[in-house]
């Protein structure tokens, strides 16, 4: 399966190269602004880095989904499905590629963000005071202790949620191309199913959390993460099952 992952990464390298280049450029701008005392440049670069972080999750997800769509619909899909792997291995490689990509992005942006904030706080002591006051406010108003564990759980939850959304998109596309292939509004039906599945899973988890009366935010993040992974697993199994019965390139 490593070979499948290798070629999935190659197929999706364009967006990663572009994001990496922009990230490097913005970070250089941020550091230059800090060294030269140009606070406007620092602020703009910091804002754009934050924006880039959120856009990266969308772009990487979209590229995963679009690549799968082309693999299952276009003739280039023969390259993938002629390989001596079953559909579960093929889909598994796609999901793992996406997971590794987004986890790597989260770690890289996390490290850069942590490093930049640390440097800024070291240079501007008053910012550290501001951050401490914000932490106190969260703790008092929302009963949320903003610490390292919360940040880690937040990142984990975002990554797992992303995996769930991409895997359910794979399922929707598979339904569109196979079972709904003869229908007129197959794209719309598949999109509606995708939205309903994701909303339903979130609604179920929220209900469980309300019923469990969970006080710990970290605990809530853990529950969300577990359900996201179970949801992704169910979508993966369903997609593989459908492809095993209905694959038609």
């Amino acid at each position: 399966m490593l070979k499948l992952i290798k070629y999935e990464l190659i197929k999706q390298r364009t967006s990663k190269v572009i994001i990496g280049a922009i990230l490097a450029l913005l970070e250089v701008a941020f550091l230059a602004g800090m060294l030269l005392g140009k606070e406007e440049i620092m602020a703009i670069a910091a804002g754009m880095l934050t924006f880039l972080a959120s856009v990266t999750f969308v772009i990487v997800g979209l590229e995963e989904i679009i690549t799968y769509y082309h693999d299952i619909r276009d003739k280039s899909g023969y390259m993938l499905f002629m390989t001596p792997y079953n559909v579960y291995e093929i889909m598994g490689s796609k999901i793992l590629t996406g997971f590794f990509s987004i986890a790597a992005a989260a770690i890289i942006f996390g490290i850069i963000g942590f490093a930049d904030i640390t440097m800024v706080c070291a240079k501007y002591g008053e910012l550290q005071t501001l951050f401490d006051q914000m932490k106190s406010l969260f703790s008092f108003a929302l009963q949320v202790n903003v610490d390292g564990m919360l940040i880690v759980w937040s990142i984990i939850q975002v990554v797992f949620s992303w995996v769930g959304m991409v895997t359910s998109a794979f399922l929707a596309i598979t339904l569109c191309i196979t079972i709904f292939s003869g229908m007129r509004c197959k794209g719309l039906i598949s999109f509606v199913i995708y939205c309903v599945l994701n909303i339903a899973v979130s609604a179920v988890v929220v209900q469980i959390l309300i019923w469990a009366d969970m006080a710990s935010v970290n605990g809530m993040m853990a529950v969300f993460s577990i359900f996201d992974i179970l949801f992704a697993g169910a979508c993966y199994v369903a997609t593989g099952y459908i492809l095993n019965k209905e694959l038609s390139l």
Partner: protein, 228 residues
């Protein structure tokens, strides 16, 4: 070798393959003949594991068509199918990564013989060059069964002899080849068994020499008779 029993594939209300049963034996070259829409490509894709039949079964040496059989079947589709980002050398590397029976040296030799270059980009290849690349990469595998869907499409008259010769000299020993083509005259000189398909079914199948002797006509003439 390849057993196909009552295989059916429907698209909507139309049968692409309709109850086809055939046994492809070792060490023969089969011509799969028929007009557009007769089910040749669909049948080949089912054997290659790219289409799942609605009914019936296909087995290679007793093993159901699956990831395992893909290791022993080399399929060449009609269309160009390589990833557009690839160069010819990347295609070779891809096949080498996934297929243990791929011979990289043979691939290099076939590419050179066909006047192609390893650094050529796939998206810049003409239809003739693409056809040659498909042949080269498929025949560089030492497979048990080769499925060549319209291998002579897009290849000029002079190059066809070269391609036909390449097929005959590079297929592995004891392998079987199934070739589909509209160019029946070109195929007739190399095939030893003919399968005529119409509307997803086999209308006639037999040894080419026996057909000629029993019916007193060539495969080409028979083709005109069946589909004319």
């Amino acid at each position: 070798m390849l057993d196909c029993v009552n295989v059916v594939k429907r698209y909507g209300g139309k049968f692409a393959v309709n109850g086809m049963s055939v046994a492809i034996e070792d060490a023969h070259i089969y011509g799969l003949l028929g007009p557009n829409g007769s089910g040749k490509s669909t049948w080949m894709k089912m054997a290659a594991g790219l289409i799942v039949p609605d009914e019936g079964e296909m087995r290679l040496d007793g093993v159901k068509i699956s990831a395992e059989t893909k290791k022993h079947i080399a399929y060449m589709p009609t269309e160009g199918y390589f990833y557009s980002y690839m160069k010819i050398k990347d295609v070779g590397r891809y096949y080498q990564d996934f297929f243990d029976d791929f011979d990289a040296q043979q691939f290099e030799k076939l590419i050179a013989d066909m006047d192609l270059e390893m650094n050529m980009k796939v998206r810049n290849l003409s239809s003739g060059m693409m056809a040659k690349l498909k042949i080269a990469v498929t025949l560089s595998r030492k497979a048990e069964l080769y499925l060549l869907d319209e291998p002579l499409n897009g290849i000029d008259l002079l190059a066809r002899d070269e391609v036909v010769n390449t097929i005959l000299t590079n297929m592995s020993d004891n392998a079987s080849v199934v070739i589909s083509s509209h160019l029946v005259e070109e195929l007739e000189r190399i095939i030893d068994k003919a399968i005529f398909m119409k509307d997803g079914q086999i209308v006639l199948m037999g040894d080419v020499e026996e057909i000629r002797q029993e019916r007193g006509e060539s495969v080409t003439d028979l083709y005109r008779q069946i589909y004319g």
